[in-house]
Symmetry: D2
């Protein structure tokens, strides 16, 4: 059960609901979002998925492997068939990776507290064979909507990246939205930029990156709930501030957002190019399309989110 | 070198071009595509990515593995931190998979003949360390455009799925487009439905599925080139007809399209739900957004393509 | 708890024991086994570990991948260092595989019934993070001993492989031992040949191989216990007869042997060359050395068992 | 071609030979080695194969994953079959790992210089599909023989581990052998202990471990060749001294040993327990059995080498 004094959406969309705040994405919000396309400019929010990237210390690096290469054919491997001469040649590849090894989405089966996940799903439903409820495949037709970028550094920190440990408040979000002249609407996919991610690529010793991060603080939970935000994504690895504001707590907003609100999260989104483009045309709202891979029973997914202005 | 008598786009977008016909996607085509959104209906063209799916016989099945589960916590694994009580709990997962194990994209480094790939890139550039040129990451900001569905069975085969070995002709494509009242435009992403994929899920012995398939025949190469199609995707595993029309040839259109035209391909797209929706509202054009994963040096990518009506 | 009417070794070697019948391997048995080496002939019982091998239908094929090849260097990748000229070149590789994808060992954490494994270990000790008790690494200094080959076909079936579904009895084992002039001793590693494995490589449709197999029947449990056999290995995928003798049961001997007796098992051992060598010199006892990989928390291991005559 | 002024074994065992100095292992040497077993004591030279171990910086950590666990069954997954009650339960696992991620063997296809490997094999034979010549499977019936431990620290460095960068000389090896009262014989598997590996487990910052290591220096090549050593293994990651004695060279002994002599190498062997046992009984020779996994086309293999005294 969930604590009635905590904000939550259990039962809001029915006792069998498995998509949480993705329910705020409606045909109307999608039609309105499409109308935001003016320039025909596409900006990806994905970082390169490769070895050496910002993989959370509890996971191992992804490994991309080639099983057939041009070098093999140059070395004498024959092509297939007689036409064209020499046959057709194919390169092929595999990957071994944590689904959350790069720009990633946390699904509803990724985090919880107590013995239940979002909407009362028993934790025993998440097993060796995968997430039997709340799997990421339940969200495979979603996450098309109005994207809003809240670019914090220019407003909150004179343009500099927010410091590790800085807890973003609801006030911060409101100030930035006001400064940008954008209003948050039901069904929005809110992208919050801190500037933190670029720091990873500047560091010589990457271990520093994991010592702490700016991120959402506790006052943002009510804000996200009140605004009926469909999803939130950031340019940090864990969305919420680290170390946590509450002594002794570990990533409590993952519980408040994913488990209680049914609000899923995007992490390690690169938002610098998007921020540049928004600053350029003064518009911080756009069509946002970020399909998750339809992996049965997965709790997370890699993705390549696209902002379309 | 490429045979001057063959249709090709080498040099068309410069000698260093690495995205081929994705160049047909322009801000104008994207703005126009966004205007096609009327209903706010999102349809995914991804099949489930799971064991037991239609994996080409030259590859092995994908394996999704859980590294932390709700069952583990129920079995006594402690959560993290002291707040909330019992700590936060995380489920996590990994995957080992051929990048082309499910709904997939063939990049420009996936297929060629002779010793050069698209735009004269030496095959030795595709090595154990990946595709050093023409990698799929070069296409990570693309594939947003006007999608057009050419649903062949209703027009070509009385609604029944096309038979294995049926070579689709340029005339077939024209007939269907005319029947649907849709005109192909430069920069379009053309989706061709044969009905073949559903057959995989009906078969008891899946090996039958790989004996042959309907697909594009040789006359479609000039058609795709003339129409300046940005990409083509189908509900088959290999796009082109199998067995091939030309005796002794193996998948020659992969050479003609990917290598010569620089036209990349989508395979194992499920198009049945999209066809139903198009039939319902009579509109076979829509916004199509299909981001590829930004995997450095990859030759293919899994994806979840979304049609937005 | 275990049923007192069933044969078992719980508590026999202490309540904390995690190696079961490997306890029968003593310095004395090892010294005696080494004395059996006469010819200096080494015979491996491992089948090739490669794609296309006899992988149990519940698992996927192993995938061996090269991350650096000679072809890459021939294609232009530079060697390392200036000496010797051109530098040193390295090929390197990885594997993704079920630990029981080929010639394999079933550890004490692999099989059980009820809520406890061998020696009363709670099943909750076997979690997403591995086997916290009874892991295969507990057996990494074991399995050196006197090997005895019981070659059944010549005695039981006129030299032909045993038929699928044939339940090997204690009497069968005694008859063969007597015919070979070999007595089973405490601490022996008993290898039982049925001839079944070679059939896999003859079959055109490999799926037939999984329809049934000869194997140990229920009377062998007491025989193995009475003889204080340290381990048993066979040229089948599952040791015990399939389909099972008991209607409705699935692999019950895995429970009787692994869970109750603490007797671990080797599967998919190729015993044909060993049988030939034994027939040649008339000696069916030999030094047997079969190290398991020291994989922390694993429940199984691939291996290459060696018989030394 | 190989430089005639360099020591080499090309052609020594025929132009098609693919096992190099493993040819020194003969029935006679194996029979004699078995006679060395006196105590019946088995000592493993394998370190734990697990995440966090000493993986060479060019590789990624191994990942052991469970696909079925006791926790899953405790969470409600049913066992198989009706007998015994509740059915049989199986835990199962997979691994993704560099074949040289832990205690490992370097095969003849692992290292070379110029365009040829051992015995003139063209480097193009080592491709995306594996090592078509010199694969590690060629050595699957080998490496049973007389093991000799040369424990350097007590003789060379007052018992302390050798320092990073210390080049072991032929004289060092002779001194230690003399001190131990052991003579090197044709077909021996020589284990050289430096004490370096234990340092990895003491270090807080593991990156220090890779800054340099003690190891074989150039004078040992002739020594190994003259003594007809079948294989050499050490408690370091790369056998030879790092940084190299020769400025600008990178791991040149891998070329001199593997490519020129056809002498394969074992790395990351833990030799501390073995050294203790040898010091205890004063005997530095023993039966040594170290089977490699029979992985088709592999260039390396994990293993669990056993010394039997």
């Amino acid at each position: 059960m969930t604590d009635a004094s905590r904000l939550h959406n259990w039962g809001r969309w029915g006792s069998d609901d498995e998509i949480g705040t993705a329910n705020y994405l409606t045909p109307e919000t999608i039609v309105a979002a499409a109308k935001l396309v003016r320039r025909g400019l596409v900006i990806s929010c994905a970082i390169p998925l490769e070895e050496g990237g910002p993989v959370y210390p509890t996971r191992i690096q992804p490994k991309h492997v080639m099983t057939s290469t041009g070098a093999d054919f140059a070395a004498g491997k024959p092509g297939s068939g007689r036409v064209p001469e020499g046959g057709i040649k194919f390169a092929d590849d595999y990957i071994f990776a944590a689904l959350q090894c790069s720009t990633q989405w946390d699904g509803l089966a990724h985090a919880w507290y107590g013995s239940q996940l979002y909407n009362g799903v028993a934790e025993t439903e998440i097993r060796g064979t995968g997430a039997h409820r709340l799997g990421i495949e339940k969200l495979h037709r979603h996450f098309v909507g109005r994207g809003v970028l809240l670019d914090l550094p220019p407003v909150i920190n004179q343009g500099a990246r927010l410091a590790p440990g800085y807890p973003i408040t609801a006030d911060d979000l409101d100030r930035v939205a006001a400064s940008e002249g954008v209003a948050i609407e039901s069904g929005d996919i809110v992208l919050v930029r801190t500037g933190h991610l670029a720091w990873f690529y500047e560091l010589k010793d990457k271990r520093e990156f994991w010592q702490g991060a700016p991120g959402l603080g506790r006052t943002t939970v009510e804000w996200l709930h009140r605004h009926e935000v469909a999803a939130v994504a950031m340019d940090t690895a864990a969305i919420e501030v680290q170390p946590c504001e509450t002594p002794g707590a570990t990533l409590p907003l993952h519980g408040a957002l994913i488990r209680d609100l049914g609000l899923t999260l995007g992490e390690l989104f690169t938002l610098d190019a998007l921020a540049d483009a928004c600053r350029e045309d003064g518009r911080y709202e756009f069509l946002f399309v970020e399909p998750l891979l339809r992996i049965t029973g997965a709790v997370g997914s890699p993705l390549n989110p696209l902002a379309i202005k």
